[in-house]
């Protein structure tokens, strides 16, 4: 297995010939090896351009891009691209090739032996939960949209690249399947642990997928680079606050499960679940969902159950309010904006 590699952008700019304003302006950030970095921003913020600078599909005007400490600008573009997984929104599977042939694209370009390619294709199909016996010989036209997207991801993973670039990979999928594919990709990423740069215009997707989020504003300027929680708690400026939305408090609650909340001790109450109101929630529930359910139940407190079904503690609206204001009162971490050096400790996030 190739190790995931650290990606570093150093003052990267892109100016198209004949245009006064740069498309990307002085972009600097570092994605630690094995992390998912989401590039997010409104249209015109250059997020796709930034992505394509990394695999040199668009030439960089100035600055440097380092992959595993080595400048990509010194590399032969074709060889570089074979080392970087590439997934695009429209997937771009080759319609005249079977699923197996599609996945084998980069290994074939690299001249792998056919037995090794066959074994790798089998392994990848199993990784994305497609039955190799059934799916290998199918053509893309015979797959569902979700299956095509998964094959696209498998194809990008085929040569075990240290870096994956994903350009709105789930953008063309309906919301229900998108959620499923996102979860599936996070499970996959937990196994393969690639360095991933993921472009989206959807802040909710960014919060869900990213270990780190780079928010770009128009003109390709980095507005903030930080963990989702930090961006939601301490937006660097009005632009970021507006971009993440007025509901950023709620989004933050979605990042936390009841297991992470310091609940009101149940020792004054009976541990019998039946005695503690109508709402009984398992500890994996996100605080956001808990809040929503409590509001529907006229603001009644909810009992949080541990894995055995015993009451672990009590959650009240006041407690949630307290939680939000405590977080906001914490000093913002340094490095908002160009924060390439900040390493923020994160508690386990919901859904990971």
């Amino acid at each position: 297995m190739a190790q995931a590699a650290e990606l570093e952008l150093r003052g990267v700019s892109k100016r198209y010939a004949g245009q006064r304003e740069p498309a990307i302006h002085g972009l600097s950030f570092t994605v630690p090896a094995g992390d998912v970095c989401v590039l997010v921003g409104p249209s015109g913020s250059g997020k796709t351009t930034a992505l394509r600078l990394i695999n040199r599909m668009i030439p960089t005007t100035s600055g440097d891009i380092l992959l595993g400490g080595r400048s990509v600008l010194e590399r032969e573009p074709k060889e570089l691209r074979r080392e970087i997984g590439y997934v695009i929104q429209q997937i771009g599977l080759f319609p005249h090739q079977t699923v197996g042939e599609n996945i084998a694209t980069v290994p074939r370009l690299l001249g792998w032996h056919k037995d090794r390619i066959h074994a790798r294709v089998t392994e990848l199909l199993e990784l994305i939960d497609l039955d190799p016996a059934e799916m290998r010989e199918r053509y893309p036209a015979q797959l569902s949209g979700g299956q095509r997207q998964r094959v696209g991801v498998a194809r990008a993973l085929a040569a075990d690249p240290p870096l994956m670039l994903m350009d709105e990979p789930f953008g063309a999928i309906d919301p229900i399947n998108r959620g499923r594919l996102q979860d599936e990709f996070l499970r996959l990423q937990a196994k393969v642990k690639k360095t991933v740069v993921f472009v989206t215009h959807d802040i909710d997707e960014a919060i869900k997928m990213g270990d780190r989020i780079a928010i770009l504003r128009e003109g390709g300027v980095l507005a903030q680079y930080d963990t989702p929680r930090e961006i939601l708690t301490h937006p660097a400026d009005d632009f970021v606050a507006q971009f993440v939305g007025a509901d950023r408090g709620l989004k933050r609650l979605a990042l936390t499960t009841l297991a992470e909340v310091r609940l009101i001790e149940p020792d004054t109450m009976t541990r019998e679940p039946s005695a503690n109101g109508a709402l009984r929630l398992p500890r994996e529930t996100s605080v956001r969902d808990a809040l929503s359910l409590m509001l529907t139940a006229d603001g009644e407190p909810a009992s949080v159950l541990d894995d055995e079904g015993n009451v672990e503690g009590l959650l009240t609206l006041a407690l949630i309010e307290q939680m939000l204001s405590d977080e906001a009162a914490e000093a913002p971490h340094a490095g908002a904006g160009a924060g390439s050096s900040t390493v923020i400790e994160q508690t386990a996030e919901g859904g990971r």
Binding site: M57, L93, Y139, L165
Partner: protein, 250 residues
């Protein structure tokens, strides 16, 4: 030409009479009375007349479409890469396509001579527009995201062309070949005006002799059968080469 005209006049004068002068030795009563179709004449003349004409016809068409395809492919690849070449190439091949075929054959005789070269040059020139257009359309029809994926995965331009673009253009290319082949098989029947080859030779002879119905139907029928067979073969080739076009969601 004057002799042919003369014999047509003679046949009009002698209408209703047996008018087959050259097949005396083998002539059956069917032939002598110029009935609609005499199988005995066909079996006697398959070896000396019909088969050589058919073989010559196949060769004329194969060579013309083969050379035409190579030239058109080169032109289409050039125009695909350098878009500015499309318009001039289209104009020139269209002009070639619109020249009346009989005139073109005669025009070529002066510089080239009444030989197989003139015949092939004329036939090739009629394939260019069809093949060029279809190949270019096929290449242009490759979806942008497929090209982006090919580039993003590290294919060179040549690899993308050979592994992705040309295979995906195949249905359009074969469609062009089918039209070109049928067109050229039909056109090759008038090659006889400058060069003694192809099914046009027995058709012309038959027309000059009555017309001699059996020979006219046999030779003309062979030309039609040849065109249909070639078309069917190309359909088969396409099915074998492009299995993905029939793959649909199960």
């Amino acid at each position: 030409m004057a002799a042919a005209a003369g014999s047509i006049v003679a046949s009009v004068v002698a209408a209703g009479e047996p008018v087959i002068p050259n097949y005396g030795a083998q002539s059956s009563s069917c032939v002598v009375h110029n009935h609609l179709f005499c199988t005995d004449w066909v079996s006697h003349n398959w070896g000396p007349v019909l088969w050589p004409a058919l073989r010559g016809h196949i060769l004329l068409a194969l060579v013309a479409v083969g050379i035409g395809f190579v030239i058109s492919l080169a032109l289409a690849l050039a125009a695909y890469r350098y878009g500015c070449l499309e318009r001039p190439t289209t104009v020139i091949t269209t002009i070639l396509y619109t020249i009346p075929s009989l005139a073109l054959f005669e025009l070529l005789v002066a510089p080239v001579g009444p030989n197989v070269y003139s015949a092939e040059i004329a036939l090739v020139s009629y394939t260019l527009l069809i093949l060029f257009r279809n190949i270019l359309t096929g290449l242009r029809g490759v979806p942008a995201e497929v090209l982006e994926a090919a580039e993003g995965m590290g294919m060179s331009r040549r690899q993308a062309l050979v592994r992705v673009e040309l295979p995906l253009a195949l249905p359009a290319i074969v469609a062009g070949l089918r039209i070109a082949v049928v067109t050229i098989i039909a056109l090759a029947t008038i090659v006889y005006t400058i060069y003694n080859a192809g099914l046009g030779v027995p058709i012309h002879t038959a027309l000059g002799e009555g017309p001699f119905k059996t020979e006219l139907i046999a030779a003309g029928g062979l030309a039609i059968l040849l065109a249909l067979t070639a078309d069917a073969l190309l359909v088969l080739v396409q099915r074998l080469l492009t299995p993905w076009t029939r793959a649909r969601a199960t």
